[in-house]
Amino acid sequence: MSKQQAYPKPKLVPVPSTNIIPERDADKSPILECRHLGIDFGGLSAVADFNMAIGRTEIAGLIGPNGAGKTTVFNLLTKVYQPTRGTILLDGRDTHSMTTAQVNRAGIARTFQNIRLFDNLSVVDNVKVGLHNQMRYGMASGILRLPGYWKEERVAKERAMELLSIFDMQDLSKHQAGSLPYGAQRRLEIVRALATNPSLLLLDEPAAGMNPSETAELMNNIRKIRDTFQIAIMLIEHDMNLVMGVCEGICVLNFGRIIAKGTPEEIQANPAVVEAYLGKKKEA
C-alpha cells in the first residue's frame, strides 16, 4: 500500500468571500463565522445560505421584516435548533453536534425576545446561575458546607453585584426577578448572559418596549459592555435609531435569505432593503 493517500473526488463548495468585519479586528480571525447555514421546517426553508462573519470586538446588527428568520438565526447559533445545513465556526471551532449548554460554555450567550428569566429566583441568584460554570465546588461541598462553598459563593456574590452595577441594578438584587418591571427584566437578562463570560453576546430585540430615552441609555450601555468586556455583540432590533447608531456591520434578512450586508450608511442607501421593508415601488 502506498503511503500517499488518494483523495476522493472533491465536492466543490463556494468559499464565503462576502464576509466583512471591522478593520481593527482584521488581524485576528473572526469570532463567529457562519457558512451556508440553513434550516428547514417541514420542507419550508426558514433560513438558507446564511453567511456572516463577526469581528472580535464588533457590534453587528441583524435586521429584517417580521418573520424574516432573525430569531431563527439566533436559535441556530445557540443550537436551540440544529441546523439542517452549513457550518458555524465559533472562534474557529466547529460547533457541530454541540448542545445549547455546550455552545454557551464555548462562548455564546444570549437574551430572548420574549424574556426568559428565572422568575422565582432573586435578581442576584439569576446572575449567579449565569456564573455557575465559573464556580467549581461540587455537590458534596455544597451539602457539607466545606470551605470551597463559602469562598466561591462569596466571590460569586461580589462578581454578581459588580455585573449588576453595569445597569445600576445593585439595589434590586434581592427582588424576585419575575416581579421586576419590564425594562429591568430586559437588563437583567443581559447581565445574566454576560455572567457566563461570553466572547459573543446575542441580544434579541433588547430595546423592545423601551421609550426613546431608555433606548438611548441602552445604546450607551451596549457600547460600554463591548468596551469593558472586549467582546463581540450581535443584536436583532426593529428600532432603526438604535441599529444605525450602535452597529458597525449590519446584515439584512428577508424570507430567510441575506439581501444586504454593509455599514449602516450602505444599508440605508440600499434599494433592496427599502423594498423589503416598504414594498416595491409601483411603476408610474
Binding site: T71, N75, V80, F112
Partner: protein, 296 residues
C-alpha cells in the same frame, strides 16, 4: 388453539382498554389534564348497570343506557364542580384535585354499595348460551367479547367522524390546539370542554359494563387499575390521538394476556409497564403522537 383463544382474549381485553383510553385521550387532548377519576367513573357505570339489572330487574339495554346517562351527567358534574374552577391553575393542582375526586368516588361507592364484591350477571346471552363454540368446543368466543370488539371499533370510527366532520368536533380540535384562539373565533370553550367530559364519561360507562360482563366481579376499586392501564394505553399510542388510543389499548390487552399465558401471571403488569417505558424512551410521544416543539 390456545394461541388463538389467547389472541381473542387479548383483543377483547384490549378493546375494553381502548374504549377507556379513547375517553382518556379525548379529555387529555382538550383539557390537558390527567383525569385520575376516569377509572372510577367506569366503576360507577358498572354499579348503576348492575343494580338496574339485578335489583330492579330492568332489561339490560335500559341498564346500559341508564349507566351511560348517569355517568355522562356525573362526568359533566365533576368537570363543573372540581375542574372548571381550576382552568387557570397549575396542572399539578388539577391532578391532585382529580385524585381527590377519585378517592371521593371510591369511598362514596364503598359507603353506599358496600365492600362486598358484586357478581355481575352475564346478560349478553343468546338463548342459554353466553358464547359460541368453534372447532368442536376447542375454541370458545363469548358474546361479550364480540360485542366489546364491535363496540370498540364502532366507537373509534364514530369519534373520528365526529371530531373530523361535525361542528362540535371541529370546535374540540380547535380547543385542543389553542383555547384562547378558539375563544376568539367564537367557540364556547367551556361548553366544548364540558361536552368532552360528557363523551369521555359515557365511554367510561360503556367500558365499565363491558368489563364487568367479561370479568364479572365488581368492587368500589374495580375501576382504578383499568383506569391506570387505559391511561398507559393512551400514552402508549400517543396521547391526544384517537387511533393511537385504539392501537395502544389493543396492544396493551394483547401483551397482557400473552405475558399472563406464556410468561408469568404475576409479572404481567410489570411487563406491560416495562413495554410502555421502552416505547416512550424510543418514541417519547407514543406510537402515533405528534412532536410538539417549544417556541423560542
Amino acid at each position: 388453539m390456545s394461541f388463538l383463544s389467547n389472541v381473542i382474549s387479548g383483543i377483547s381485553l384490549g378493546s375494553i382498554y381502548a374504549i377507556i383510553a379513547l375517553g382518556y385521550t379525548m379529555v387529555y387532548g382538550i383539557a390537558k389534564m390527567l383525569n385520575f377519576a376516569h377509572g372510577d367513573v367506569i366503576m360507577v357505570g358498572a354499579y348503576v348497570c348492575f343494580f338496574a339489572v339485578s335489583a330492579y330487574n330492568l332489561p339490560p339495554v335500559i341498564g346500559v343506557l341508564l349507566a351511560v346517562a348517569l355517568c355522562t351527567a356525573l362526568g359533566m358534574l365533576i368537570e363543573r364542580m372540581a375542574y372548571k374552577p381550576l382552568r387557570q391553575a397549575p396542572s399539578l393542582a388539577v391532578l391532585i384535585t382529580a385524585i381527590g375526586v377519585s378517592y371521593f368516588l371510591q369511598n362514596a361507592a364503598l359507603l353506599w354499595w358496600g365492600s362486598d364484591p358484586k357478581k355481575f350477571p352475564a346478560f349478553i346471552v343468546v338463548g342459554e348460551q353466553n358464547g359460541v363454540s368453534l372447532f368442536g368446543g376447542q375454541l370458545r368466543i363469548t358474546y361479550v367479547a364480540i360485542v366489546t370488539v364491535v363496540a370498540c371499533v364502532a366507537i373509534m370510527a364514530g369519534l373520528i367522524a365526529f371530531t373530523g366532520k361535525t361542528k362540535m368536533g371541529k370546535a374540540m380540535r380547535a380547543c385542543s390546539e389553542d383555547k384562547g384562539a378558539a375563544q376568539l373565533m367564537g367557540i364556547n370553550v367551556n361548553a366544548t370542554i364540558s361536552m368532552t367530559f360528557a363523551i369521555g364519561s359515557a365511554l367510561a360507562a360503556i367500558a365499565g359494563v363491558l368489563m364487568c360482563s367479561a370479568y364479572d366481579t365488581l368492587l368500589p376499586t374495580t375501576g382504578s387499575m383499568p383506569g391506570i392501564k387505559a391511561f398507559t394505553a393512551a400514552v402508549f399510542g400517543g396521547i391526544g390521538s384517537i387511533p393511537g388510543a385504539f392501537l395502544g389499548g389493543l396492544l396493551l390487552g394483547v401483551i397482557q394476556i400473552f405475558t399472563q399465558a406464556y410468561l408469568s401471571q404475576e409479572l404481567a403488569d410489570a411487563i406491560v409497564f416495562a413495554v410502555l417505558i421502552v416505547v416512550l424512551l424510543v418514541k417519547p410521544t407514543g406510537l402515533l403522537g405528534k412532536q410538539i416543539q417549544e417556541k423560542v
